[in-house]
Subunit: 342 residues, 2 copies
Amino acid sequence: MGVSLKDIAERAGVSLATVSNVVNGYRPVGERTRQRVQAAIDELGYTPNLSARHLRRGRTGLIALAIPELTNPYFAELAEVAIHEAGRLGYTLVMENTAADHEAESKLLNGSQRHVIDGLILSPVRVGREEVLARAADTPLVLIGEGVHDVPHDHIAIDNVAASRLAIRHLVESGRRRIAFVGAGRGDDRHSAHLRVRGYREALAEAGLAYRAELVAVTARFGRRDGVHAMRQLLALDEPPDAVLGYNDLIAIGALRAAVDAGRGVPEDVAVVGIDDIEEGRFSTPTLTTIAPAKEEIARLAVRRLVARIEGAEVTGPLTVQTPFRLIARESTTGAPGRAGT
Amino acid sequence: MGVSLKDIAERAGVSLATVSNVVNGYRPVGERTRQRVQAAIDELGYTPNLSARHLRRGRTGLIALAIPELTNPYFAELAEVAIHEAGRLGYTLVMENTAADHEAESKLLNGSQRHVIDGLILSPVRVGREEVLARAADTPLVLIGEGVHDVPHDHIAIDNVAASRLAIRHLVESGRRRIAFVGAGRGDDRHSAHLRVRGYREALAEAGLAYRAELVAVTARFGRRDGVHAMRQLLALDEPPDAVLGYNDLIAIGALRAAVDAGRGVPEDVAVVGIDDIEEGRFSTPTLTTIAPAKEEIARLAVRRLVARIEGAEVTGPLTVQTPFRLIARESTTGAPGRAGT
DNA sequence: GAGCGCCTCTATAACGTTATAGGTGCCCGC
DNA sequence: GCGGGCACCTATAACGTTATAGAGGCGCTC
């Protein structure tokens, strides 16, 4: 169907191997021949057949980014950078949607797609340390976000405990005393929700504030809807919170909206902080104070690490990389009317 | 490296071809042999090498979904469905981010990735009818959204003129008289922005309202930020609008926020409507009235059509399919405080 | 001026599949 | 008991690429 190396070889009057060398630069080719071959390539419009190349090379040029949900803007933003970076390095990124489903994560991990992808970037939610350790596939794996620690794989994440602490400190400094956490996980120690709760507790202790179990709301998932439900219950308490840290921005936005529904002023009656710095929070009413992780850095680093492993490069430095983050104070805690979009 | 057909063949004591037939069911295989082969497959953990299969079959099993931006929730929601549907049909979906860039769209269209993907779903923004007609690649193409018409390719979209009209009619019925449109395109007739402006004009005419050029705001792009900027200028007019239709929900949300910044009440002073029904609008303050296209249907249909073309199936029915849409009235036009999330 | 090495280039064998053309053995009908 | 047909299976040639081994020509050294 398409134009193949053979066609070019015939046209240019050289051997197959020479054309291949012109295309790949694996072996040097004489200047005159190179030009003749290049001319033939341009004329016939040759593009390499990647299936054949991959078969021969034993690689597919595909890497997968597996995230729990694409409709969470945090992951969409991450994916956008990752796609670009992968392309830059000559790889094609395929998105896998685990939907926070245990089986889906497990399947990806164990490479039911064995021959399809050269490597996997996984944001684990349900899958645990043991499963990662017991992983059968032989392709490189890079973990992003929290969930699994102490495994022999690259791992890019922020320090969730510290991030959470920073958020709480901000609330304490602005005079808040009854601070709630919305979006705690269901029991599993490994999930980042757990780490963020830990940071919350540590920061409360630092500030000399008591930890109250009724102010920590567990949610089934981590969307806006969950934030709304949890916040409604918190606001119905005899002593409702005067501030809330959401597990992520989506939950915080849900909490924000629930507060409005209940007739509470944000931040006068209750301040709200999220984590992720999704664009939505820069335009919400009020705009959302948040902890901003270096998303671009996370995505880029993950892709680069993975590709380096695939290509067998010597990767120096530790397996686990903690990327920076910072607090961005906006209306939902400061009250100072800001300009939207900043 | 991996386990190949050959290994299975040796283990089961049959020929290569037989194993292939067990795997693919191309030719019938005796029950006893089938079981022996299947046992070997299970024992050794065989998975087909897709590169080889694709080389042989001339297909890659990959289809691409090219959208202008993944961080627009509308497209993220679309992509999520498309990924799932593609997987169901045995294809892997790769996301291409055109960033609304002309060159990127053109490259994809003309298959600089010729051998990589079996088909393309494109949401065209910059590329025009002529370019689609002149397309060099021989792989099937399905267009989604507006932008290009009257081309010999499948095309899935809503009737933008009608959608826009419906939105305006809703505003007129609630007593609005100075209705603005935010997010008109820059001059190119083909973009859906143009069609939505047309629907806007038609509906105004129907209602006996005059069309005023100063109420149609052109924006460079279609994000929240653009909505904010355009709305600021509209509100600075001597006679500011009492209602706004945004090109999409993101623009509408920007407009909403700009109105709040300017101290205007929504919807008392100015009503706001968007198009897309992204989840964000169900939790914003106020919640956003919008035109909801049948996103799932669009994504599913696009993938199915494409796969049908790739597999050479007879596709009946017209090339262009218009999918349904409906108006969802929320606080930003009704004022009636709703419950968030609906 | 013969030998050696280098620089180009070629021939060819994989990589793991699938499809085509053929080959068994067995049962059936005559 | 023998040819024909069928059901099942095998051998093998592609698909387009890359890597390996090696062949030819030319200049350099001694």
